[in-house]
Assembly symmetry: C2
Homo-oligomer: 228 residues x 2
């Protein structure tokens, strides 16, 4: 029984990877760098994007967002104020709603994305620290956001998510003084599961540290165009 | 294709419900009230339990905890300081780890639970606002915790979770003054998806409002014994 179950799961991931590669080829053909942005619900992904994407056009990067949610378009509505293309993808077609984006969902959104007119696509995943890390969607890089209000133990409890990303953004730094939270312990736990991974300490609320994210996105976009 | 997929999902949930009923019969036979505690990662479930379960014995309720995590036993270690039975259930047997507890996982833990010696079992689910709401595990009641650091929009974005519970605990009230957060808007969003659902405003950190949770648990346990 156990072996059968695992085999099915591998097939699902295998099919997902096949579609992810097809997505990646489409993105590459248009020279679009794709970032998969993941976090727990309420870690501040949308507020970070509001801050970090504002000013990207001045840096020569034309960005768009693919917004993944179980239901609704609240974040997409917020981000559309940036006057960049925002496409909403809802996962509630099934039963209670899928808890993550997969490659095929992203594939279904590709015709709605203006790939010829952008350099960077940020895919804001469903808020969840487990399954989004298991499904590649054709991205070049994965960023995860953890907020200091969530506790220092999260890398140890959700190791795959913290291992699956190229950059960890530690958000809500402005609340640090009001919490019993040890930032060094969080970073030690992070290094225990993903030694030396790039990380930024930021506050999306005050804007502290957001420049570093914007520069990281610009560099990621330049790297991809240099290869293309 | 779409119809086939939906049918498979229903079969999974059907099998889950069958096992959940078997769990419930076992719990009922021993007169044990079972609460399924759910939230996003880092909303404060464990800290709330540390507070609310402390003092339950004096109220005549013998409690135990079944701790669900993808990996590790950090929360179980914390709760064992309460000198109550704590059983750890890890979901990482599969690939990246299951993002929720299901009835069969809970069933596998039943032989390790001292059902004859307890009145209340709290099942702390994996931190996730989507899938845990889809899987009954044989519980009498479901409680969900949302923290004010997560934003007011969560009921609208994860409606099934907020609909699936009998009690909503609004946590981290001590941080309210440091946030751009409108508690009335959260409650209005909550009423939009689950009109009139019971709710408590608490701070697990300061202890504010935790008495109400303890009393709710005592009443839930008494109700179940009156029926048994």
């Amino acid at each position: 029984m156990h072996r059968t179950k695992v085999r099915v799961v591998e097939d699902v991931l295998d099919a997902n990877n096949t579609i992810a590669r097809a997505n990646r080829e489409d993105f590459d053909r248009h020279g679009v760098t794709v970032v998969n942005l993941m976090s727990a619900p309420g870690a501040g992904k949308t507020r970070l994007l509001e801050r970090a994407l504002d000013g990207l056009a001045e840096a020569g990067v034309r960005a768009a967002v693919l917004e993944g949610d179980v239901q609704g378009s609240y974040d997409a509505d917020r981000l559309s104020l940036l006057h960049i293309p925002v496409v909403q993808l809802n996962t509630d077609g099934g039963f209670g709603g899928e808890c993550h984006l997969d490659a095929n969902m992203v594939r279904s959104a590709i015709p709605s994305l203006p790939l010829a007119d952008i350099d960077l696509l940020v895919i804001e995943n469903v808020g969840n620290l487990v399954c989004p890390a298991e499904f590649r969607v054709g991205e070049n890089a994965r960023i995860m956001v953890c907020s200091v209000t969530e506790g220092e133990d999260k890398p140890l409890k959700y190791p795959l998510m913290f291992r699956a990303c190229e950059l960890v953004i530690i958000n809500k730094l402005d609340l640090l003084e009001h919490l019993d939270f040890d930032l060094d312990r969080l970073e030690a736990n992070l290094d225990a599961v993903h030694p030396g991974v790039d990380r930024f300490r930021v506050s999306a609320r005050t804007g502290e540290g957001v420049d570093a994210i914007r520069e990281w996105l610009v560099r990621a976009t330049e790297r991809a165009s240099a290869v293309a």
